[in-house]
Amino acid sequence: MARITRDEVLHVARLARLELSDDEVAKFQEQLSDILEAVSKVSELDLADVPPTAHPLEIANAWAEDEPRPCLELGEVFANAPDREDDHFRTPPA
């Protein structure tokens, strides 16, 4: 199997919103190649007629009554917030 390129590592890191250092990019290029090669073993099997399993229980739907319940107080909602302005989470500009 082809090794992962440096550009692919940077592309995936951008998708995952990770700012990696140069050392990390080099290390993950090696390690991701090894790991993906190992897990590619799944493609050896003939799976033509096999349906996928997303979840080990056969539950189709879980219904609940649509009843209002109390929610967290605003003080609790913001208790762990890094930054806040009034009743909003404050972030740097998009």
Binding site: I4, E8, V9, V12, A13, L15, A16, R17, L18, E19, L20, S21, E24, F28, Q31, L32, D34, I35, L36, A38, V39, S40, K41, V42, S43, E44, L45, L47, V50, P51, P52, T53, A54, H55, P56, L57, I59, A62, A64, L72, E76, V77, A79, N80, A81, P82, D83, F89, T91, P92, P93, A94
Partner: protein, 468 residues
């Protein structure tokens, strides 16, 4: 003098009911044990003062949210996070009067098999502190084996309750998927994550399971659970035990582990069980590859929530995107980053079908193989871990070698099945774990078999170096 190393939860309840000890004395005895032994073991990330009451203390893995008590998941990104609500399992534990004595160490976001991926440093094995206690729930395991708590809660995605229980020599249950609520638990891989009990013996384990199990309106994957039957029988008459040859003959299983497991299987036969070899041809061969696609893919989605906006770490950035990327780079350690990268790659455009889609089909193959065996058998047995506890640092630079620790615990996790570890002997002076896997919702069968075997094995759960 309360000897926490030998005291079972069941015995502690009797002593409390008979007023031979008070709730305050009991709690203090565990705090003393923590003061004495936790500097060596580093089982706890946070220790709590006695909240009062007569319930038993409970150690809680630090991925389980506890109102007003820091919950870090072993990560710097949650270093100062204090939940404002309790996880459902904590609500249930408190309803039974249990007192949270502390939060136990874990590999970061429960990703690992040794606790060496904890951002707060590794825990150590009570049998030999130069060795790992297993992971990710090594803190809960070290706490129970070290007599720092009568029992504990863990979480298990691919073996994080069973494998540390094996390496530290006590009992751990990964319950059937859907039996225990994950509401309020830090999510790793949602189609696999389960919360479960860690205890000194099977009856304590069954009791703690009965406390936490049940349908929860806040977790729509939970279902109604059969009532727990506390095991009493000392025989195994009528029990059909399957011995999957691939699970027992896999490459990398240490000879001392095989020997201890074979002795336990012979003992089971002498207790009246029928024992027959069987086969899981694809589950062992493809389980690890399947798991290390499915779990990282789900983790990459679950860990997207750590963006520095609502809670957790925030690093400065000129704009929103830069803030998010710097926060995640600074907050996540090596292993979460590696799994986020693998998972994001496996889910990315052009690769989804080849990796994640294929892994989900392999998961069906694994599930069907197990379903087939449970038509003929009540329990499948094997070693829990291929090896006894390994030295700290031995595998830390080789992710793929570390992943192979989960070889024997992963297949049943992928199939959503319950698995129980009980200690079955020593190899090179270190505990060997026996894995009992049951059909969906067959926890009571595991308790029965585990209890009868435990009585016959008579394993001393007190680490040899602590015996007086």
């Amino acid at each position: 003098m309360i000897e926490t190393l030998t005291l079972t939860a069941e015995r502690a309840v009797r002593l409390l009911e008979a007023k031979e000890i008070s709730g305050a004395e009991l709690y203090a005895a565990y705090l003393d044990a923590i003061g004495e032994r936790d500097p060596d073991l580093h089982a706890f990330l946070h220790v709590c003062d006695d909240p009062g009451g007569d319930g038993l203390p409970l150690a809680v893995k630090d991925v389980i949210g506890t109102k007003g008590i820091p919950t870090t998941a072993g990560s710097k990104i949650l270093e100062n996070y204090v939940p404002v609500y309790d996880a459902t399992v904590i609500v249930n534990a408190k309803r039974h009067g249990l007192r949270i004595i502390g939060k136990t160490n874990t590999d970061e976001f429960a990703m690992g098999s040794s606790t060496e991926n904890s951002a707060y440093g590794p825990s150590r094995n009570p049998w030999d502190p130069s060795r790992v206690p297993g992971g990710s729930g090594g803190g809960s395991a070290a706490a129970v084996s070290g007599g720092l708590a009568p029992w504990a809660l863990g979480s298990d995605t691919g073996g994080s309750i069973k494998q540390p229980a094996a390496l530290c020599g006590h009992v751990g249950l990964r319950p059937t998927y859907g039996t225990v609520s994950r509401y309020g638990v830090v999510a790793f891989a949602s189609s696999l994550d389960q919360v479960g009990p860690v205890a000194k013996n099977v009856r304590d384990c069954a009791y703690l399971y009965s406390v936490i199990a049940g349908r929860d309106a806040n977790d729509s994957t939970t279902v109604d659970v059969p009532e727990v039957a506390f095991p009493t029988a000392d025989d195994l008459n009528g029990v059909r035990i399957g011995v999957p040859k691939e699970m027992n003959g896999a490459e990398g299983i240490e000879p001392g582990v095989t020997a201890a497991v074979e002795r336990a299987i012979e003992l089971a036969e002498s207790l009246g069980a029928s024992v027959e070899e069987c086969s899981l041809p694809k589950s062992v061969d493809y389980g690890v590859a399947c798991y290390y696609l499915v779990a990282p893919a789900e983790a990459s989605a679950n860990l997207a929530r750590y963006d520095g906006v609502r809670y957790g770490l925030r690093e400065d950035g000129a704009d929103f995107r830069e803030m998010v990327m710097r926060t995640r780079d600074a907050g996540f350690g090596d292993e979460p980053k590696r799994r986020i990268m693998v998972g994001t790659y496996a889910l990315s455009s052009g690769y989804y079908d080849a990796y994640y889609g294929t892994a989900q089909k392999v998961r069906t193959v694994i599930k069907r193989e197990h379903d087939e065996l449970f038509r003929r058998f009540d329990v499948l047995v094997s070693p829990t871990s291929p090896t006894v506890a390994f030295p700290l640092g031995a595998k830390v630079h080789d992710p793929l070698a570390m992943y192979m620790n989960d070889l024997l615990t992963i297949p049943s996790c992928m199939a959503g099945l319950p698995g129980l570890n009980i200690p079955c002997g020593l190899s090179e002076g270190l505990p060997v774990g026996l894995q009992l896997v049951g059909a969906q919702f067959a926890e009571n069968t595991l308790f029965r078999v585990g209890h009868a075997l435990e009585l016959a094995l008579d394993f001393n759960v007190v680490p040899a170096r602590y015996r007086t």
